[in-house]
């Protein structure tokens, strides 16, 4: 698995995509549990949107039946500037080795390119967290637990573009 080993050297991962939506719709899709539980892994992410506020993503019943713990990801809100920028810490809880790496940092940037088109950039800083890096960059098939940010964000795009928030 040379690629995985190589990928772990990466300390910052960047994902940028364009979505036909308003900045507000993207902000809600990221921060509101009734939206964020509908794409990607279908975990429910709750944010207390102020500096120092808590972030917690929980597994649904189906995920728990597959052996995932109830609490999936925790973190802290560092900066919340709706609907433009969200900075948070992010720590995976489904594996003791991941938990031991401590928090990583995720920055969500929402920029309106032209009317109705938003540029979403997700930057995941993974300094000193090679196991997190391998998990979120995973290109393994989704049914094998792979997917990572590529899967989550492409699914977010599909959801938001097919629904009016």
């Amino acid at each position: 698995m040379t690629t995985t080993e190589e990928a772990t050297l990466t300390t910052t991962q960047l994902y940028r995509l364009y979505i036909k939506a308003t900045p507000e719709a993207i902000w809600d899709a990221i921060t509101k549990p009734e939206w964020n539980e509908r794409y990607g892994y279908r975990g429910r992410g709750e944010y207390d949107l102020r500096p120092g506020g808590r972030y917690l993503a929980t597994a649904n019943e189906q995920m728990q039946a597959m052996g995932m713990p109830e609490q999936l990801v925790d973190g802290e809100v560092i900066e919340a500037d709706p609907p433009r920028k969200l900075v948070q810490t992010w720590r995976a809880l489904w594996d003791p080795d991941l938990m031991a790496e401590g928090p990583t940092r995720v920055t969500w940037e929402i920029e309106e390119e032209t009317a109705g088109i938003v540029r979403l950039t997700v930057t995941h800083e993974l300094e000193g967290a090679p196991k997190h890096a391998a998990q979120v960059a995973s290109t393994a098939p989704i049914e094998q637990g792979g997917g990572g940010w590529l899967w989550i964000l492409s699914d977010l795009k599909t959801l938001v573009e097919s629904e009016t928030i």
């Binding site: 910052t12 994902y15 940028r16 590529l150």
Partner: protein, 106 residues
């Protein structure tokens, strides 16, 4: 030219694929670092990076005094979702599995 055309055009060149591979191995590199791995003038590398940036496959960000280049794998994933997923997901992953099995036993 559509966004997809830009991605395909950008990928249709071995030097640019090499640059993407280098960024996949380690992200956030300067032009100088990337240039040192290629038998090419600085200007030539800049031109290739520009094509990759136009296609959205590379994002350059200023960090302090340096301009760092990051791989953005998202456009490839979205093309995959639209074209490959729809028709040939199963066949492609079967082929990919076969390839990795053969490579492991080799």
């Amino acid at each position: 030219m559509t966004d997809d055309d830009r991605v395909f055009k950008a990928l249709a060149d071995p030097t640019r694929r090499f640059l993407l591979d280098r960024l996949f191995a380690r992200d956030g590199r300067t032009l100088t670092e990337l240039e040192s791995e290629l038998e090419m003038t600085r200007f030539g590398v800049m031109k290739h990076l520009r094509v990759l940036e136009d296609a959205g496959l590379v994002v350059a960000r200023r960090q302090g005094r340096e301009k760092l280049h990051f791989l953005n794998p998202m456009p490839i994933r979205l093309i995959h979702d639209r074209w490959i997923d729809k028709y040939t997901e199963r066949q492609v992953s079967a082929l990919a599995n076969l390839k990795s099995e053969l490579e492991e036993t080799a």
